[in-house]
């Protein structure tokens, strides 16, 4: 098990080995999670995605032992979580849920400081950390630390929830539909901010959603689950979109999976015919998503555009055909996490 030192935070690897959870006995026994196995390397976001009732929340809660598995093992940094002291284990796992679970009788500042105070940090260190985290999630500490949860908007509450989960710098974060309770515009902003944050923090994250688009956007890895708590497919978003393992997965990711892949592949991933500068044609930076490039090409009604390299020099000629064939050949692949 490799433990990676990333910035100021340590991330942990997470492994599921044949994890099963059954409720009830005998005749009425039913499996909520069935023989689930996968591994998430330290610092990666793994998204559990699937239809309602397929066992996503149950899987998540077995990691911090809110639910105990019937069979199998979950290893955090190679250590079976069942062998650890349960409160110590939970204090080093950040937990964010849809309803956020902020304690209504405590201020935002005290909410963020819950785990540090449980761990006996000094008041001074707690408040310094609280302010640091509020700033990190885009809330001005001066304005927000003294407020109560009822005095926040839904989006602000989610940010506080994320700040609180990060408080003791946990090597693993569990997030259960953390952005589901806010409207689509706020959700998109929270997702973008979170990805930016994760870029710096590089935590290991197990993220639950039932929204395939969110899974594709957030995940370095996605685990598609199907009814009965079975793992239908595990892999990078691009590989799941390009090569669905079953009819269920193909249907779940949607008929438009080809189009969805356009958001995962960038201009830099294309191999192109060299091209000189062509005044009048649109230009695309290396980070431009194929989806946006295609949109520009279709709207501008031109035969193509010019791809630029990191230095801003023309690198090649981009056409609608080039984009289509890149997807068809599965050549455009996302950089590994």
């Amino acid at each position: 098990m490799t433990v990676r030192e990333t910035g100021h935070a340590r991330a942990a690897s997470l492994e599921f080995h044949g994890v099963t959870k059954r409720y009830g006995r005998g005749e009425s026994a039913h499996g909520a999670v069935n023989d689930l196995s996968f591994a998430v390397p330290a610092g990666a976001i793994c998204v559990l995605v699937g239809p309602s009732g397929c066992g996503k929340t149950t899987s998540l809660k077995m990691v911090n032992r809110l639910i105990e598995p019937t069979e199998g093992q979950i290893l955090l940094d190679g250590v079976n979580v069942m062998t650890e002291n349960v409160t110590a284990l939970r204090r080093r796992i950040g937990y964010v849920i849809q309803q956020v679970g902020l304690l209504p009788h405590l201020t935002v500042g005290r909410n963020v400081a819950i785990v540090p105070s449980l761990m006996g940090w000094s008041k001074q260190r707690q408040s310094a950390r609280t302010d640091e985290l509020l700033s990190l999630v885009g809330l001005d500490p001066e304005r927000y630390r003294g407020r109560y949860p009822v005095q926040l908007s839904g989006g602000e509450r989610q940010r506080v929830g994320v700040a609180r989960a990060l408080a003791a710098d946990p090597p693993l974060m569990l997030m259960d539909e953390p952005f589901a309770a806010v409207d689509p515009i706020v959700r998109e902003r929270l997702q973008d901010e979170f990805l930016r944050l994760q870029h710096e923090l590089a935590k290991t994250i197990l993220f639950v959603t039932h929204d395939i688009d969110e899974a594709i956007k957030m995940g370095d890895l996605i685990a598609v689950m199907e009814a009965g708590g079975r793992l239908a497919q595990f892999g990078s978003p691009d590989s799941v979109l390009a090569h669905p393992a079953s009819d269920f997965v193909a249907q779940f990711v949607g008929e438009d999976r080809g189009l969805k892949r356009l958001s995962l592949v960038t201009i830099a991933d294309l191999s192109l015919e060299p091209s000189a500068a062509r005044p009048g044609l649109p230009t695309f930076g290396p980070g431009t998503k194929l989806r946006d490039a295609l949109s520009v090409l279709l709207a501008a009604d031109t035969s193509g555009g010019v791809a630029l390299d990191d230095a801003g020099k023309p690198r090649g000629f981009v056409t609608v055909d080039a984009i289509a064939s890149a997807l068809a050949e599965g050549r455009g692949t996302v950089a590994n996490p």
Binding site: T87, R91, L152, S153
Partner: protein
């Protein structure tokens, strides 16, 4: 008109404010015995209610019993106790003990039921989130459940306090002291001023107690629970 004048006159008479049978000493008796009963009742009912609220264990049995208890008329409880308490002490067993025990027995159920309902009513997701952060069960009870259930707990204590003050008044029928004495004596002496003076004093004590509890509640309950949501 006569009644009000007579009551006012009785209340204003300096003689009624003196000695062991005067208003201040009767008031002190009433307050002391009510306070002691409430305290004893709370010491028994509060931990029990908090425990069944937190664990959910035996809750159906205990709450049903407490609610049935609640329906008992105070007067009947005192009367039923007399034969037993006089065995222990023939003197006080007829006056102090039955009333005291009745006060405790009747104050318990509202405290217990509200403690149970308050704690059991705390959002399960919230409790689970607290547990997921590594709070121990006692930390969840004292740091999450009690503060959030405080308004409900306080209502139980407030109801019990008023109940106790009323029961203490009834105790006068059995020779128990307190403000009820004025009502009994006023009735016996056909002195309406004293009778209604006693009634007014009991009512004022009950209102003052209510007010004190409400003030305390306002101080103790987090503003995060009482503020209205952001617009």
């Amino acid at each position: 008109m006569d009644l009000i004048a007579a009551t006012a006159q009785w209340l204003a008479d300096p003689l009624n404010w003196q000695g062991p049978n005067g208003i201040p000493s009767r008031l002190m008796e009433h307050v002391a015995l009510s306070g002691v009963s409430l305290l004893v009742a709370a010491l028994i009912a509060l931990p029990l209610g908090l425990w069944i609220g937190h664990t959910g264990r035996f809750s159906w049995w205990i709450v049903s019993t407490a609610n049935a208890w609640r329906a008992l008329p105070s007067f009947a409880v005192i009367g039923l106790l007399v034969p037993f308490t006089t065995v222990i002490d023939p003197d006080l067993g007829f006056t102090l003990y039955p009333t005291l025990v009745a006060m405790i027995v009747l104050a318990g159920p509202p405290i217990l039921v509200n403690a149970y309902q308050g704690i059991a009513g705390v959002d399960g997701e919230l409790v689970e989130a607290a547990r997921a952060m590594g709070m121990k069960e006692s930390q969840i009870l004292f740091g999450v459940e009690i503060p959030i259930a405080l308004p409900v707990l306080a209502t139980g204590l407030r109801l019990a306090a008023v109940q106790v003050i009323a029961t203490a008044t009834l105790g006068a029928t059995f020779g128990f002291g307190g403000l009820g004495r004025f009502i009994i004596l006023g009735d016996a002496n056909r002195d309406n001023g004293e009778l209604f003076g006693g009634v007014v004093l009991v009512a004022m004590l009950a209102l003052a107690t209510l007010g004190a509890f409400l003030l305390l509640e306002r101080r103790l309950v987090s503003t995060g629970l009482t503020r209205r949501a952001a617009g």
